[in-house]
């Protein structure tokens, strides 16, 4: 296997879908690609996001207040999916309420490559994995610092697209990652179980330093969400995307070996 350090790290850029942001996604996606993003993650708001810190909570609140619905999500996917591979992030209930098969067929038709559900545990995931295969979508599972080696291996084996490694105990947003020394064994366990599956680190990736630390832990990429949303305000501008992502993308360039 070629050294993972020899490759450029993936950079997943997040944006919450919000009815008032209609018509802006395409320009944001182009700016993200220009700045070095390799994937997009579109968040569908949920009223009770227990894994999220204050910034993403407030964004979800606003999007729900604005009457954002599933059609807004489908439209946003259609706007960006041809620019970068696009994943949908939401909590379990919005998918369930829509009907799992119907929801996945719809986002699949709109062009999504896969989806992630932060409150879907490995134990509850079998029907969701079957539905994702029927829809031809990748279901990305999440691992955490609390997962032991056996769980990390099981999560990596059942995950599709990539494995999302939560960087620390805590919610999304401000706060430090657990650090490369603590995270490296988890990344290694995932790679051993599934050498073909990249591991992307999320929660607390906000600048070049946190991205470099993710690379030191062995991660194949990072997810940037809160750092973008806290500067976006209600109506994000493409220039903001570039300003935040460019230094992170530079930190993800191949490590000289």
């Amino acid at each position: 296997m070629p050294s993972r350090d020899g490759r450029r790290g993936a950079l997943v850029a997040y944006c919450m879908v919000d009815r008032v942001r209609r018509g802006r996604y395409r320009a944001l996606a182009l700016a993200a690609r220009q700045a070095g993003a390799t994937h997009l993650e579109l968040g569908f708001p949920f009223s009770d996001p227990i894994a999220d810190g204050p910034v993403l909570q407030a964004r979800a609140d606003a999007a729900v207040r604005h009457g954002t619905d599933w059609r807004d999500l489908e439209a946003a996917i259609r706007d960006v999916a041809s620019i970068l591979p696009t994943y949908v992030m939401s909590y379990a209930n919005p998918f369930w309420r829509r009907g799992l098969d119907r929801a996945l067929a719809e986002i699949g038709r709109a062009g999504a490559r896969g989806f992630l559900v932060p409150d879907l545990s490995l134990e509850e995931s079998p029907p969701w994995r079957r539905a994702s295969r029927r829809a031809g979508l990748e279901l990305v599972l999440l691992a955490a610092p609390s997962s032991d080696r056996r769980r990390v291996a099981a999560l990596a084996r059942q995950s599709a697209g990539f494995l999302y490694l939560v960087s620390r105990y805590g919610t999304t947003g401000a706060g430090r990652t657990a650090g490369a020394a603590a995270l490296a064994p988890i990344v290694r366990a995932a790679h051993e179980a599934r050498p073909d599956l990249p591991v992307y680190l999320g929660f607390g990736i906000r600048d070049a330093a946190s991205a470099r630390s993710a690379r030191r832990a062995g991660a194949d990429g990072v997810v940037v969400a809160t750092a973008l949303e806290e500067r976006f305000g209600e109506l994000p501008r493409p220039a903001t995307v570039g300003r935040i992502l460019r230094p992170i993308a530079r930190a993800l360039r191949p490590v000289a070996t």
Binding site: I50, A51, R97, S121, E123, L142, S146, S147
Partner: protein, 386 residues
């Protein structure tokens, strides 16, 4: 212990919490088999909690209804003034067994917060209680009680600032501090093993009812009635009776007359995933959790325990909604006829019991779980009847 009740239940939680839930389940299974744990639980329930609680004949309320006999299971006499003690004690002893130095809890009416604060003091935990700002305002006496008992009350300012939002914040705290903290969840909701475990600790209510009924009447009551928010006092009443002949009636909060939602997830919601379990949930077409409305903070919740969802679908228990105005009427009946100030939560159940008594013959017996006392509600009631 079942992970699912029919289709309902499960554990829909972020991965960070999964190992902690497994640890909790293991600790609880081991404790149930440990005679020393069971002895300590029973002894503290007696000497600290005041158990067993009596079954009390509501003679004048029965005369007012003019039908079946109404009996009250006096959980309002438990230490702290509500059934919440039963579960807080059990989980507190478990947390000590697991070596966790810190307890967190959510509270709506404040009764679970008070119970957790009492247990935290008695067993020497650092205790923090999340409570919505709206609830802190309407249940002010309980905020003061928690603080006097040494707990820190953390105001929750997100969402509707009520029970659901307090649970969100407690879950976020647990995700952050799971290595040192036990989340002492107060209702039969949340991810597995909480619904089974809380039902287990609360089942002392139903077991005592059946025991005293057998002693007094030589048979179980005809009907058991309990209020349902998350559903812990109701499941504690119903669970031991589920394989008996007793009819089971759960009473949800209908909100003010004319309200389309109230807080009645079983009668007006549909299946969904909230706070880690699959159950009935009040929600909109996009799956966003609905705002709720009830005069009683303890019932003001958009979800309900998964075992109730199962009992409902199986037809084993019936669930109805009672409006704020009728709960207030029942509050006054119990005060004026029986000399008891009930909490607003069981006032919903009292109203339903009177309606049921009216249409039943005098030889039948109805047991209502009087889950808590009403001192905390005096301001709210005073304003409502003024």
């Amino acid at each position: 212990m079942p992970r699912r009740f029919g289709a309902y239940g499960g554990a829909y939680v972020p991965e960070t919490l999964v190992p902690a839930l497994s640890e909790l389940e293991r600790a609880w299974r081991a404790a149930r088999r440990d005679p020393a744990f069971r002895r300590e639980l029973a002894e503290r329930a007696r000497s600290f909690g005041g158990r067993p609680t009596p079954l009390h004949f509501a003679e004048r309320l029965t005369a007012r209804a003019g039908g079946a006999e109404i009996w009250l299971k006096r959980e309002d006499l438990v230490h702290g003034g509500a059934h919440k003690f039963n579960n807080a004690l059990g989980q507190g002893l478990l947390a000590r067994r697991m070596g966790k130095p810190r307890l967190i809890a959510e509270t709506g009416a404040g009764q679970h917060g008070v119970a957790t604060a009492m247990i935290g003091a008695a067993l020497g935990f650092a205790t923090e209680v999340y409570m919505g700002e709206v609830d802190m305002e309407r249940q002010r006496p309980n905020v003061l009680r928690m603080e006097l008992l040494g707990a820190r009350v953390r105001p929750v300012r997100t969402g509707q600032r009520t029970l659901k939002d307090a649970i969100n914040e407690a879950l976020r705290d647990w995700i952050t501090n799971v290595r040192t903290t036990h989340y002492l969840l107060g209702s039969a909701v949340g991810p597995h093993p909480f619904p089974s475990m809380v039902a287990d600790f609360q089942s002392v209510i139903g077991r005592e009812i059946l025991r005293e009924a057998r002693r007094r009447w030589g048979r179980p009551p005809h009907l058991a009635v309990a209020c349902v928010g998350g559903g812990s006092n109701a499941i504690g009443t119903f669970h031991p009776m589920r394989r008996t002949s007793v009819e089971l009636l759960g009473v949800e909060a209908g909100g003010p007359r004319g309200s389309t939602v109230g807080a009645a997830s079983l009668t007006r919601g549909r299946p969904g995933i909230l706070h880690g379990s699959y159950s009935y949930v009040l929600q909109d077409r996009s799956g966003e959790i609905a705002d709720t409305q009830s005069i009683s903070a303890g019932l003001d919740y958009a979800g309900v325990g998964p075992e109730h969802a199962y009992l409902r679908d199986a037809g084993r228990a019936r669930y109805i909604a009672v409006h704020d105005e009728d709960a207030l009427r029942a509050f006054r009946w119990l005060a004026e006829d029986e000399g008891i100030l009930p909490a607003l939560e069981p006032s919903h159940a009292i109203y339903a019991a009177v309606v049921e008594a009216r249409r039943r013959p005098k030889r039948q017996r109805i047991v209502v779980t009087l889950s808590g006392r009403g001192d905390k509600d005096l301001e709210v009631v005073g304003r409502a009847v003024a």
